[in-house]
């Protein structure tokens, strides 16, 4: 399958000695929605700014559409839709002027599709006549999203795209992203919003302190995370009677027990059936659990 983005040991050190990213190697396949996760300062924005040629690599290289991002930046840009993390479109322009201007710079803008996008994001004609400086941050984000999609780019590079959007508009964005993917588009999305990545991404990478720590399909990532079981007993239970090689007890407090499943669930159910149980839950792990687990490892490493 065609690789749309590929980085080879991409490294960025800032002048003050701070590590932006170090030896980052990843690849994004055509037609894939790729999530890029990390805490603040992990290196997500640094990576994205290097992909759009705002920052230059200290070492390593990256390719988009098989072309070097530094040497062939202008060629690559024709097929990219980019939205930065802190959206501040040209404030002296009206919303309409901004879209016209960005559309002309993209040279291939579909006005019908733009109208569709504007309708989706609930823009009225009068909104487009207002200066962007009069927009709320959510509106500014929406107009920036419209410009990202309007020229039907082959690749979307988005840094925290739903930051500041209300839940309804977030949902609209997810829908658009799904439509875009169904038409063969590829997206590279950094996000703090883990349910969003879980919902829209095919694969996700987790970056920590500038280094890649995991890249997997969302389902596979979550499989790594053992499921946690919560049990509430009717009576006090002795913890020694709860021991089993099939789980790892996290906490045992009189009548409540929390444990991480590590083995056969059937054996655990049989063990629990010997007791009177008041309540029990076995939720699926969320991406948030996986993410936090990776970061807990970091803390314990330190």
């Amino acid at each position: 399958m065609e690789k749309i983005i590929e980085t080879f040991e991409l490294t960025k050190y800032y002048k003050n000695g701070i590590v932006g990213i170090e030896n980052l190697s990843l690849s994004v396949q055509a037609g894939e929605i790729y999530g890029f996760l990390g805490s603040n300062g992990a290196g997500k924005t640094t990576t994205i700014r290097m992909l759009v040629n705002l920052l230059f690599p200290t070492a390593g290289k990256a390719q988009i559409f098989g072309k070097d991002i530094v040497k062939h930046h202008l060629d690559i840009c024709k097929d990219i839709g980019y939205i930065p993390s802190s959206v501040k479109p040209h404030k002296y322009m009206t919303g309409g002027d901004f879209l016209d201007y960005m559309g002309k710079l993209s040279s291939d803008c579909d006005s019908e599709y733009r109208s569709y996008l504007l309708k989706k994001f609930d823009f009225k004609r009068k909104d487009l006549k207002r200066k962007i400086k009069e927009y709320s941050s959510g509106m500014a984000r929406k107009i920036a999203l419209v410009q990202t999609f309007q020229h039907r780019p082959r690749l979307l590079i988005m840094d925290e795209p739903t930051e500041g959007l209300d839940p309804v508009m977030q949902y609209t964005f997810y829908e658009l992203l799904k439509e875009y993917k169904n038409k063969g588009g590829t997206a590279f999305i950094s996000s703090h919003h883990l349910p969003e990545v879980e919902q829209v991404c095919d694969r996700a990478a987790i970056i920590r302190n500038g280094r890649l720590v995991a890249v997997e399909k969302i389902q596979d990532l979550m499989k790594h995370m053992g499921r946690t079981i919560h049990v509430e007993f009717k009576d006090q239970v002795n913890s020694s009677r709860m021991e089993s090689p099939h789980w790892e007890i996290v906490s045992m407090d009189g009548t409540t027990l929390t444990a991480k499943l590590t083995g056969d669930i059937d054996k655990i159910i049989k063990l629990l059936s010997r007791f009177d149980i008041k309540d029990m839950s076995l939720p699926n792990p969320s991406l948030q659990d996986v993410f936090l687990d990776y970061y807990r490892v970091e803390e314990s490493d330190q």
Binding site: F56, K88, H90, M102, A144, Q147
Partner: protein, 270 residues
Amino acid sequence: MIGNIHLKQSVKGIWKKSLLLCAALFLFEMLFAVLSTSVVIQKSILRDMNDIPAVAQKMMGKGVVESMLKYGLIAVGYVHPFMLIIFILFIFIAASQMITSEIGSGTIGFTLSKPVSRKRLYLNFGIIVYLGTALLALSTYLSSLLGVLLFHSQKLPKEPFAHLAWNLFLLMIFAAGYIAVFAAVSDSGKKLFTYGGTTLFAFYILTFAAPLWKPLEYVSPVSPFSYYKPMALLIGGRIDLTTSLAIIAVSMVMFGIGAIIFNRRDISSG
């Protein structure tokens, strides 16, 4: 083609401010042309003071008294800091709006994510500065010409005003070269104004101080203001072609240096 779209948009963003500055300059020079018809007493004072302002003559260049005797307050209009401030303000506005404020506000990310090269962005900045400066110089020229025609019955030579406008243009494109370099390394309009403004002010002081202290004369050629000689031009002085070409070349080289720096720098916003 795409570079031209960016240029067109930049012109759209700056033309109102440019016209406002042109109007301010026009009115300012016109005011001096009007005032010079009524302030006759000044000429007698100047005649009496012919020997006294030797320091001033030295600082302001040759012909300060003669030009003021001939053109009265019109001559003062050309050395008044207000006029220089208007020109410099325009260059700062262009640099800020097209380069540094885009970086500071993060909008540059949108622009550079499109097929617009950084070099082209800088070329557009240069084009706007050169055209805008020429427009401001033209405005000064027309204002003085009209002022003399309307308010002065005595026949004053008009030709020096064309030379003055050309001199102003050269002064400002030289100054713009420095600002272009500062804009290439600055992350915000504030930094550009601080460092660029301080440098130009230091050059301004240097130009006046150089005739008074020999060692400064050796460094004064780096100051754009050293080449601004309005008083000498009003009494028939000329700017030779070599100097004009040299200033244009230096200004272009500085814009080129700015473009190279800007092309290779990291932009940590957008």
